[in-house]
Symmetry: C2
Subunit: 332 residues, 2 copies
Amino acid sequence: MTIRVAVDAMGSDRGPEDIVAGAVEAATDQLQPVIVGPSTLDTQGLELIEAPDVIEMDEKPTEAVRAKERSSLVIACRAVGDGRANAVVSPGNTGAMLAASLLHIRRVKGVLRPAIAVVIPARDGPNVLIDAGANADARPEHLAQFAEMGTILSREVLGVASPRVRLLSIGEEAEKGNQLALDAHALLAQRDGFEGNTEGRNLLTGGGEVVVTDGFTGNVALKLLEGTIRAILDGLRTEITATTRGKLGGLLIRPAARRLRTRLDPDTYGGAYLLGLRGLAVIAHGNSSSRAIANAIRLAARGVEHDVVGRLAQRLQEEVLESARSTPTTPE
Amino acid sequence: MTIRVAVDAMGSDRGPEDIVAGAVEAATDQLQPVIVGPSTLDTQGLELIEAPDVIEMDEKPTEAVRAKERSSLVIACRAVGDGRANAVVSPGNTGAMLAASLLHIRRVKGVLRPAIAVVIPARDGPNVLIDAGANADARPEHLAQFAEMGTILSREVLGVASPRVRLLSIGEEAEKGNQLALDAHALLAQRDGFEGNTEGRNLLTGGGEVVVTDGFTGNVALKLLEGTIRAILDGLRTEITATTRGKLGGLLIRPAARRLRTRLDPDTYGGAYLLGLRGLAVIAHGNSSSRAIANAIRLAARGVEHDVVGRLAQRLQEEVLESARSTPTTPE
């Protein structure tokens, strides 16, 4: 089977040429990127689905998606809804991607809220952070579902045998947190694989974890993580190049620094999954390099291969059955 | 004038000896640390206020403060309330410190909620993050007051001429955020010096900012920041020492790495201010080194010298007058 990934070529901070280059890089016999963009675009031989319009980064998501039905972002999502593609990748407006996906790919039955899942390259293996920004305000039952979705992603795509679920909070004790965290903790505690709260300090060390949080906290955390990594590596470079001795040392440690940078580079995964939909959607960084786009397309294809959507639907159905069984029946 | 700082010698993750050593290091003619701990403790010649009991890290704050009136933490706070000390430093249970301060130092008139303010050593100067953990659930009007408190700290203690207030959120646009951030943005927008939202990625770069958030988000962010700094520096060391070439380079860049580490080290400030009280309180890290304790004591003394408490009270009074003036009077 050939996996077809619709790639939104427009609306990124860089030009469409980088997106096309990334798509060409990712293309294989089994993985066929389909470019969505204007007819004038040089697709380097890849199939094109025409979309004359563009949703910009600063547009209001819901309005833009309604007003611009012929934008590359909307048409790319619709390609998944129509079955013309198995997955979609977009480096554009995250809010618009969420709105267009809900409208054209639609939720898996039983999913309360789709969520953004990001792979965090921690020291001891990949962690999943969910929700990294789809739901700024969330309820405890949403967080409980995020745990299910993140676990499926970790197991099926990242190959973690028994993902450990943890709730991001401000202390490891169950009674530490804001009201949302306290209520979510109580719900998660009824679940296998839940290992209690975790703190931000562990996000980059422990591996194989599914770290659950609301989209506000998760997005603040993700951006803080990315910014801190960049600030420290840049700060180190500044200090090193300040002296001749440092410069010489810098040359010698360059391969070591590059290994670390490659591991921590967001481009290594290229994007974040939008989970809970009837098709796979990957949101790439707005300023993605062609390498990042290629990796985002591969990430999308891996999700299709491992049937993340089907397994999620199955898991939610099992939950409904389980809760039906555990509900005491009223005696006649 | 001699500034007297009550130092809670008990309840830290390390022993009381490190705390006493830090107090001895900080002592000068103008700064007199007063040790609060058991009578058996060797205070190295410093004055002792006797406190036979200890509140442990894992005790429930409010209950512990009520049950252990003769604990070092409670007696150290009471020393400020009684006027026997100008400030208090404790490396103990943060929640207990908050509860004991509210009870024995009490709030400045008009302060809705005391908040924890941490100095973040950013590239272009010190930022203040407030609230870093006192109020897991906060309301918009609390955040507006945190902005006032953080501004006074930044101006008076850190010497920033015109601190810029920013709201921690998930996008720079006013309409990005959870409900709390949206409502807080609307309140803050009425205030001079407010420059809109900021994202986590800027916390370590821009300087002279007062970054306002609720205590849950702020605490997650602070711990993530500290953990990421440690994880990256440790990861770099691991990569460097993996090869002979790297080891040699590592020796050469050691002074550069040390400069960066010193700037980013939480011990450089030693603690966080608990603002909004009628006396100065500084919360030190639970595993503070003697150097960190010495710096926390100096931080407390600097707050007393610059009359942070008096200026805060004055500013809140001005606010009340301003809002009285701007309220339209009903015509008779």
